[in-house]
Amino acid sequence: MAAAWNSLVNVLGPDLTRIVIGLVGVLGLVQINALFLVWLERKVAAHIQLRIGPKEVGPFGILQTIVDGVKLVSKELITPRHVDRKLYMLAPVAIFLPVLLSFVVIPFSETLQIRDINVGLLIIFAFSTFNVLAILMGGWASNNKYSLLGAVRSVAQNVAYEIPLLLSLLSVLLWCNSLQMSEIVESQSRVWNVFWMPIAALIYLICATAETNRAPFDIPEAESELVAGFHTEYSGMRFALFFLAEYSNMLIVAAVATTLFFGGWKSPPFLGFLPVPGLVWFFLKTYALIFGVIWIRWTFPRLRFDQLMNFCWKIMIPAALLHLVVYAGIIKFIR
């Protein structure tokens, strides 16, 4: 085993070996995360609505999504007539690729990070912007009015909410003085950032919910008016890629929130004596945040589109800008 490991490292070099292993790990994580989250979402939704949810396949219905996945693979890949074939085929790939690339810089634990790039934070948000392109590609190419409307709405919403999102990140940057994920986590070993900048954390969480098109901001996919939004015409595996990307995006925004505001893989300060590895803390915090997002989805009704855009431009952006100025002044005052 050790010999095989050494020869692998010799052939590929330490850099590439890390990347290859990391990719395998990330692929596993993405699949398991999506399977788990779909199950969790259905189960939580059911219990909130006083139902039971999936219960037939496996204990507590936990194998239900695996069965669904197998079904999706065996479905026909329908390409409707009059679609723009190239863009239509490219869109699911284009939405899935940047999601996987974003995982490169996320610090799952002290040592478990594929690459600790010193502009890690920027990398994540650079890749997450590709989302918009893929959505517009899919919606435009589908030759379907609902798809186009969904795509246009989704793009308008995503670009609008990206501004307060970026502005809220600046507080972290000012406080930690670094864009490197490991340093940001390291700076929170005593007090989590969320206690220093609760407003920035709140703005980030609201915008992240909007960026991932989750209710109450799920207007692009508002099934009661737009069939299924931008992926109406997609079936089988292509639809599954859109779905995978959506749930992986949720994982990414929650993981980034954990890293930036909730201490990453560090244990809560008063629980430091427990022999729990950082990885467990990281995923506990991340999934607690995701649970919150699911809870919000099944509690609040969907906003109207003009309300959604007004909320962003008239409340979130001025608030984020003012918060930045005040916060920068406070930092200057303390230091």
Binding site: I19, L23, L77, K145, R238, K332
Partner: protein, 136 residues
């Protein structure tokens, strides 16, 4: 001004752009494989009904390349302005520690002008959605 150390320069590409490219290529290969399996295992029967755009059972009329409402273009333009400003503020934030109170005053003025711009487009009705009452 102290000299910039190569270890702390803000570059994502120091050791491993090649590794990142390989990562990207592997992901692409994997997605291609997935789609290949799906198209190989799946059904391959088509009929006109199935190939028609799905609009809840209603037969589609006209082109689906709609001209979408003007506010969407406006949002795109506002986004360009504000996002570039955000990128500019990022460049400022990286070196905030060395800038002193002067740096804070300058960025405050910058953000003040930005908010003025936002108020201007707000008052001009650039942020309004839906049918406006002002149409003659």
């Amino acid at each position: 001004m102290q000299p910039i150390l190569s270890a702390s320069t803000l570059s994502p590409w120091e050791p491993g752009i090649f590794a990142l490219v390989v990562y990207g290529l592997m992901v692409m290969g994997l997605v291609a494989l997935l789609l290949f399996f799906a198209s190989w295992l799946g059904e391959k029967k088509s009929n006109p009904e199935k190939l028609r755009p799905y609009e809840s059972g209603v037969i589609p009329t006209g082109s689906a390349r709609l001209r979408y409402p003007v506010p969407f273009y406006m949002v795109a333009i506002f986004f360009l302005i504000f996002d570039v400003e955000a990128a500019y503020i990022f460049a400022w934030a990286v070196s905030y520690d060395g800038l002193g109170w002067a740096g804070w005053l300058q960025i405050s003025f910058f953000i003040f002008v930005l908010i003025l711009g936002l108020v201007y487009i707000w008052k001009k009705g650039g942020l309004e959605w839906g049918p406006t009452a002002k149409t003659d």
